[in-house]
Symmetry: C2
Subunit: 106 residues, 2 copies
DNA sequence: AAGAGATACCTTGACAGATTAGGTATGTTC
DNA sequence: GAACATACCTAATCTGTCAAGGTATCTCTT
């Protein structure tokens, strides 16, 4: 089963914030993590990922900084901001409610 | 709490099919039902509703017929087709999986 | 040393579903 | 007769996602 597109639309920001709420990370790593955790079911294209990062940063929900790996390859790390954390909390509340309501109809 | 926009995007079709899987209904009634069941939290604009109906009908998932109420007002009833029922089933399976995956990240 | 594949970043244009903001018409209630 | 509920619909716009590209470095194999 592959989940993509509009089924996950609108949840991307929440998922990224959720991952970043545990620890700072960078695009490529996050994409791999999503693939592993979802057993390949959750497909997030890079375009969607970077668009989401840009949106989150513009809203002040995450901040970013460049850092090099041991091998010298540059990585752009993202960090959740205090505003990002409170936003995540309210997104989670909405999500729980949305689940209940949708389940009530099907 | 108001749920709207992309949080529900992609689920509209499933919700409508879910409602129609119980009994035929028409636009205005469905909109009211959604409002009541969700205690006003789920906001589905009429434009979204009718766009969705059109899409569902085009895909052959629902069919429609005109019928008058006791007062004489015309209503456009929608009925789920066999294809609509099988589609609903697979949408539900995707939905269950999507819930689990999203919850794994937050 | 050359080539393949993984790591790591990014952008542009098109698409599709949702919203805004209208419109029409009839029935009911005060 | 004015307000409100019932009942339908559309056009233009917005927004998130995707397809399809691009650049560059590092590692492993031959």
């Amino acid at each position: 089963m592959e989940l993509t597109g509009d089924l996950l639309r609108g949840h991307t920001d929440m998922i990224l914030l959720g991952i970043l709420s545990r620890q700072d990370s960078y695009g490529y790593e996050i994409n791999k993590k999503i693939e592993v955790v979802s057993s390949g079911a959750f497909v997030l294209t890079e375009a969607t990922l970077y668009t989401s990062f840009k949106r989150l940063e513009k809203k002040g929900l995450v901040s970013s900084y460049w850092k090099s790996s041991d091998t010298g390859k540059r990585r752009k790390y993202y960090s959740i901001t205090p505003l990002g954390r409170t936003t995540l909390e309210s997104l989670e509340i909405s999500w729980v409610e949305a689940k209940q309501i949708i389940d009530a109809f099907i």
